[in-house]
């Protein structure tokens, strides 16, 4: 079996609205090996969540994947029928959403919701399935799982609910888990715990993970590679340590610079910011979308920068990368404090 688990090639997902076409995902390509953890970073509206949904095949009208291939172990998911896709979802590829209160059905018990995830893909008897569910809850660190199984979602705390969601995701031992901002809705302390647990689980089971977030500090301690998105395009990709210490794309550099940890400023002094605002996706300037806010932009940037793959494994969409600037000592504080 090829080591490459997932290969996304030239993915384009467009939304055809009354106001115009929103190119939520615009020519995104990346690949993932077995057991690799990739951080997909970007601000709201950058298209990172849409990329995740596209892979799962959960894009609804007025959106549509218009182009590209999504190869899961060599099989193009886009060519699958809905029934075939249903077999893949929850079994080979699982997804964890941001707000567990909203994703777990409030009027159904936890065991119902876990068992149906198992029985949708495997013909397992009630008792065997229940045993697996119990085991899964124990593995994510939920005490007295029997009692918990018979409870309802609103009886859990936020962190516990997300652990349940993680347990459900891992039930059928998927090859890939896509986690869409799973810790954004949680307290910082819980955040750290969940991060650590997910990392452990993935390493233990060899499950690949795409962790979608807008928070750079989270990625540092967790991921192997990082992909940065801006206005629907993948602007930089590479090994996480390399990118975070020597960002090549001006946007990435701007993001890192604006972190408080990297601002050796005294109190009361302004943090470094990226000037301007993210352009509306309906109103993108031609060429590089970051052009309007970039200090390095010039006439050449009026053309769409192609993705350049460098020898050091870095991939970049920029005509003027920041390589000459690597002397700056940028540090990113890791968001994973370790086991509780």
């Amino acid at each position: 079996m090829s080591p490459q688990l997932l290969s996304v090639e030239g993915l384009r997902t467009h939304f055809f609205t009354r106001h115009g076409v929103i190119r939520a995902v615009d020519d995104v390509s990346f690949s993932l090996e077995r057991g690799q953890i990739m951080g997909l970073v970007g601000e709201s509206g950058s298209g990172k969540s849409m990329t995740g949904y596209s892979i799962m095949g959960l894009i609804d009208a007025p959106g549509r994947i218009v182009e590209g291939r999504i190869l899961l172990q060599g099989r193009d998911l886009r060519t699958l029928s809905e029934a075939q896709m249903q077999a893949v979802r929850g079994d080979r590829v699982a997804m964890i959403f941001q707000d567990p209160m909203m994703t777990l059905n409030p009027v159904l018990r936890i065991d119902t919701q876990m068992l149906e995830a198992i029985r949708a893909h495997r013909a397992l008897g009630h008792r065997a399935a229940l045993a697996e569910a119990r085991e899964a809850l124990a593995r994510v660190g939920i005490p007295s799982p029997d009692e918990r199984l018979r409870s309802y979602p609103h009886q859990f705390s936020g962190g516990m609910r997300q652990r349940v969601a993680i347990a459900i995701a891992m039930l059928n031992k998927p090859d890939l888990i896509i986690a869409d901002e799973p810790t954004t809705a949680l307290d910082v302390t819980i955040q750290g715990q969940i991060l650590h647990e997910m990392q452990t689980l993935c390493r233990e089971s060899g499950t690949a993970l795409i962790w979608i977030t807008h928070d750079l500090s989270v990625i540092a301690g967790l991921a192997d590679t990082i992909s940065v998105m801006y206005a629907g395009k993948l602007v930089e990709q590479g090994a996480v340590d390399a990118v975070l210490s020597h960002p090549a794309h001006p946007y990435t550099r701007g993001l890192l610079r604006s972190l408080p940890a990297n601002n050796n400023t005294a109190r009361g002094q302004a943090l470094q910011q990226i000037p301007g605002m993210t352009p509306s996706l309906l109103d993108l300037p031609p060429g590089c979308a970051f052009r309007t806010r970039c200090e390095r932009a010039d006439g050449a940037c009026a053309a769409d920068p192609p993705a350049v793959h460098r020898d050091d494994g870095r991939s970049l969409r920029c005509f003027h990368p920041c390589d000459d600037d690597t002397r700056s000592t940028l540090a990113v504080q890791s968001g994973a404090p370790g086991p509780p």
Binding site: M56, L58, Q86, A87, V88, R89, G90, D91, A94, M95, F97, D99, M102, T103, L104, N105, P106, V107, L108, T112, E116, A117, A120, H121, Y152, H154, Q155, I168
Partner: protein, 325 residues
Amino acid sequence: MLVFVIRRLMQSALVLLVMSVLVFAGVFAIGNPVDILINPQADQAEIARLTAALGLDQPLWRQYAVFLRQAASGDLGNSFVYNVPAIGLILERLPATLELAVCAMLIAVLLGIPLGLWAGLRPDSIAGKSIMAGSILGFSLPTFWVGLMLIMVFAVQLGWLPSNGRGETREVFGITLSFLTRDGLAHMVLPALNLALFKLSLIIRLTRAGTREAMQQDYVRYARAKGLSMRRIVGVHVLKNIMVPICTVIGLEFGSLIAFAIVTETVFAWPGMGKLIIDSINVLDRPVIVAYLCITVILFIVINLVVDLVYSLLDPRVRLAAAGN
């Protein structure tokens, strides 16, 4: 749970009392039934005798006290017109109305929920749009007009179904029912349909709105991400979520169904409580009016109580919160 029930019962008793005062005061303030019942040629003595016989010469509060005392023992007075216990009259007609109401509710629910689900899942399809258009018609058309049209089409033009009365009935445990005979069923079709139409439209719209909203919730998307089939998602996840408001409405609307039977019974000459009350209002047969209202109030209170209980059974959040108290 027990505390809850007892508290509700006490509240209900209070409501009953207040209603009885209002009803009594209101009804006994209208006109003078003696004028209607008596021969216009009668002399003063006759009028006085009848007035006394009916107890109408007593001051109002005394009449109310008598009424209460008698009511406590189940006697709500005799009908001025038929001179039999008013409560007996009403109870005699109750099965007919209840039968009609239950039949109508069944039609509304068994047709309404599936149609509403369909319209909610495929709102832009032709079927979905026509169901919605139909439902607007359904609750716009006044019940009495629909009844007239049904009679005109099915009874007069096509001659398929009878247009009035109850047809053959059969007694079961002392209650006369008509759906057990073929003739009885034939007589029940049109009135039941008529009565059901409004509720049917209501249920369709509720189900559709609930389904549409539910389908946009995160838990539906999450269920899809788990790889569940559409059938499971709609049949279990969506349905369980929309059942709660629908059941509440069904319960509350049942009382309204019994009230609206008044119109249907008038149009189809169905011998139920509704027709009785209209006739009684027209001749100012006060005891019957009062008895009808009292029985109706009791019915509604019982229905409300049952609805509350069922509601707490269906929605675990309510049940657990109540238990926590």
